[in-house]
Amino acid sequence: MEDKVVLLDFWPSSYAMRVKIALAEKDIQYEVKEENLSNKSSLLLEMNPVHSMIPVLIHNGKPICESLNIVYYIDQVWSHKSPLLPSDPYQQSQARFWADYIDKKIYSLGKRVWKSKGDEQEAVKKEFIENLKTLEGELGDKLYFGGDKFGLVDLALVPITSWFYSFEICANYSTESECPKIVEWAKRCMEKDSVAKSLPHPNKIYDFVLLLKKIYGL
């Protein structure tokens, strides 16, 4: 039976970009269905009844939700090509730890970095930069978080770099000055086809942020 893979997507979502990178790494053919989050499709509501959020991967009719969950699923099912997780259980646990850190300490703050104002924004910005520096420390002198090869932690983090330009303009800081190694690492990741194809141009994200600000009256 031929595999049918569908991705419920929203183009600016960093979470969805993770899934696109994973699918590209594994050379998986799939259909994209772009969602309008202010008018969610009945398919999305049916496939993710608990959260009604994208991304959702639908593999032969069965839905998998939550971006890291989807990535782990993809890695297990299409295990023969480009493994994303290390095979050693301890190394795997460290990769999962950092992917979880990125969710809790980077992605969860992103919205507030561009959306908030004044003292709140300063506080969030400070925390965001500190957490990026922690990641920079973990990267060290390695080419990628996983070592010589692009892996789970790189995949988990790189999508949000497409939002960095927007964060910098809105919160007035420079990632290059604060975390130069992260910027260098992001450029290295963008040399990979799977990443370059899956991330929108930062200017497009910024246009989107300006539109959101208008809608929210910010």
């Binding site: 939550e66 699923y73 297990q76 259980p89 999962r96």
Partner: protein
């Protein structure tokens, strides 16, 4: 895998028991180390410099942090008595519910630490419990794992005692046998299992501890 296994925990935290239950179910010997989280040791800060939280599993001198990460590590390292489905789709579902319960747990803590009128957090917890009730009804089994417990049940292990304390302290009656019969029964069945029972902290001692936390955050003495 014969290397030494240590678990660093704190008696009142609901996270270390998850690890204890998984290790016990798999028959893995370990040493338990109680850490005073209000006066953290140098060694502990070396084991978990990022989050500085319990539990930490130390296997052959190498630390693993974050309870769900630890559970996955335990499953990979000691495959006997599998606690996660082998099938990729079923496994993805199990992981979904494990994260779901963690989010619910965070909202429940917010309910404990905030005063005032019924808030957003309480509503979120109530809704999450309803979703769990539906989930249990769909499966029509005793536990999330079937007739025996698996990692999803373990992850929900904060409902007995910890959530019950929150309910008592805040004056909630969400886990009600009339409105959530399956979930209520699950809680009773789960905490009666010998392997679970022997690792639950004393209810009254926990209640006093959580009451002090609530007082500290809400600046009140009820």
């Amino acid at each position: 895998m014969d290397e030494e296994v240590k678990l660093v925990g704190y008696w009142a935290s609901p996270m270390p028991p998850r690890v204890i239950w998984a290790l016990k179910l798999k028959g893995v010997e370990y040493d338990y180390i109680e850490e005073d989280i209000y006066n953290k040791s140098e060694l502990f800060l070396q084991y978990n410099p990022i989050h500085k939280k319990v539990p930490v599993l130390v296997h052959g001198g190498k630390p693993i942090c974050e309870s769900l990460v630890i559970l996955e590590y335990i499953e990979d390292t000691w495959p006997q008595t599998p606690l996660l489905p082998k099938d990729a789709y079923e496994r993805a579902l199990a992981r979904f519910w494990m994260r779901f319960t963690d989010e619910m747990g965070e909202n429940a803590v917010s309910v404990l630490t905030s005063s005032g009128e019924k808030g957003e957090n309480e509503t979120k917890v109530a809704e999450a419990l309803k979703i769990l009730e539906e989930q249990l009804s769909l499966g029509n089994t005793k536990f999330f794992g079937g007739e025996t417990i698996n990692m999803v049940d373990i992850a929900h292990g904060w409902l007995p005692h910890w959530f019950e304390c929150i309910e008592q302290l805040v004056g909630l009656k969400l886990l009600d046998p009339k409105t959530l019969p399956r979930l209520h029964t699950w809680v009773q069945d789960f905490k009666q299992l010998p392997i679970i029972k022997e690792s639950l902290p004393d209810y009254d001692r926990l209640l006093i501890y959580m009451k002090r936390i609530r007082e500290r955050f809400t600046n009140s003495t009820e």
